[in-house]
Amino acid sequence: MLSINNITKAYPSRTGNNPTIALDDVSFTIKGKEFVSIVGKSGAGKTTLLKLILAEEKPNNGQILFDDLDIHKIKSSQLPKLRQRIGTVFQDYKLFPSKTTYENVAYVMEAMGASKDEIERDVSQILGIVGLADRVDNFPNELSGGEKQRVAIARALIHRPDIILADEPTGNLDPYHTFDIIRLLVKIYELGTTVILATHDKEVINSLGKRVITLDQGRVVRDEEKGRFIL
């Protein structure tokens, strides 16, 4: 379903010398219906990898195939169709500050042209699942860090994407809520969605017992079926 082939990504430094290599010849394949954790220290390249999968940035080398579609060769006007198949939980949430919780979550469905009834039904359902039923009319600046994170997750799930990209979705949560969120992601995976989880939370990884890809300085150093958190 998703195939990462020899991806290299370098960010030029401002002086023009010594570009920062974020990803160095990274390759792996996700066959479909997998729960994959990507671990590594800060700066190992986790976020860059997710940005490339979302076609937010272009690689210097290599290609990413999504169902045999080279996502960096897609025309800009076709990108929305691809992105509607992906649900993303951003590290910094990226909620719409001028929209309420309800509107934030409903936005993708509105953009896809879903009917009003469908949207109402699905949004209240998902907000119930993430425990924000009483926060529908609040704006992001009226929510706590954990609540924002749960809005971000609800927004990523609402349109039933084929893949969920979750970048540190538990970064700002206490252990109790962390496992709530992880249980939610596992459930989504069990219902048939591929989940790519980038994290540096050791306990989360060790309790999952699922595939773990370890990145270090932009390289894949380990790729294990029932992996543990080893750095």
Partner: protein, 302 residues
């Protein structure tokens, strides 16, 4: 498709309401810009009237010798009016010339006394000749001085008036050039101000626009609400400007008439209402939509 369009309009309206402070500020700027366009539009007929007024005051007079009969002068008049450069010819008899003089100088006792002392009418019968264009007077004067009836003419006062006529000519063409220059300058400034205001307003939403793209909204779904906001802002600004224009034209009409009796800005406003409304709409809504489109484009490149 229809549901998306409906959502775009609804979101645009919501955005307008939620950022009401910014929306009002943008409307204010747009009102200024549209007012400027309106001013340029209204000034052009006013300046045309003023220029025509000045041009009307320029003429040359052909004075006939004492013994030429009025029948003959009328014949010459019809002869002169056949010259293509001549706009009209007016016959002023000896008596009329005297009347005019008395009318003009009745408050000047010295002149009136000397006129009574003279005992007879010292004025000559004349034809006032006006050309279509100030630059044509030289030609007309030359024609008269070489014509078949030149023996009957006492003098053509073109050469005395030449400096004045030429001055008027250069002022008029100068005014036209300055008018065009300032119109273009003001229009350019107005467009830039409006564009920049909207750009800054949308700058606030820059990150939001990028997020919309990243979670899979199409360009038109992202752009649409901003265009709708631009449209609403432009339309409200047009209505406000139209009201202000109406108020000013109505209120100042009488006062301007006392200075320049030929000019009625109220009737200019009324007779050009639809054209004016169209120009204001084009300026307001056009600027609103185009500026929004360009400003949003930058953030859609993700």
């Amino acid at each position: 498709m229809l549901i998306l369009l409906k959502r775009v309009i609804k979101t645009g309206w919501k955005g307008f309401k939620r950022n009401i402070g910014l929306s009002l500020a943008t409307i204010l700027i747009m009102v200024i810009v549209i007012s400027l366009a309106t001013l340029l539009f209204l000034l052009s007929p006013v300046s045309k009237i003023l220029i025509a007024d000045i041009e009307k005051k320029v003429d040359i007079s052909v004075y006939f010798k004492e013994d030429v009969s009025s029948e003959y002068i009328l014949e010459v008049e019809s002869e002169i009016s056949k010259i293509p450069e001549v706009k009209d010819v007016q016959y002023i008899s000896k008596d009329q010339a005297l009347e005019k003089f008395i009318e003009k100088h009745k408050d000047d006792p010295v002149l009136m006394e000397s006129l009574t002392e003279l005992g007879s009418n010292p004025f000559l019968a004349s034809l006032n000749v006006r050309a279509w264009d100030p630059s044509q007077y030289e030609q007309v004067a030359n024609l008269l001085e070489t014509s078949s009836f030149r023996n009957l003419i006492d003098k053509v006062d073109y050469h005395e008036r030449k400096p004045v006529i030429e001055k008027v000519f250069s002022v008029v063409s100068g005014l036209n050039k300055i008018g065009i220059f300032f119109s273009i300058l003001f229009a350019a400034i107005a467009v830039l101000i409006a564009f920049n205001t909207i750009r800054i307003a949308i700058y606030n939403s820059g990150e939001e626009i990028s997020i919309m793209r990243l979670i899979g909204a199409s360009n038109w779904f992202v752009r649409g609400p901003f265009l709708i906001q631009g449209l609403i802002i432009g339309f409200i600004a047009v209505l406000i400007t139209l009201l202000i224009t109406f108020g000013l034209c109505y209120g100042f009409d009488a006062r301007i008439k006392t200075i320049a009796p030929d000019i009625s800005i109220y009737s200019i406003f009324v007779s050009n209402f639809f054209l004016l409304f169209l120009i204001q709409l084009a300026t307001g809504i056009g600027l609103g939509i185009i500026s929004s489109y360009i400003a949003v484009r930058k953030y859609l490149k993700i």
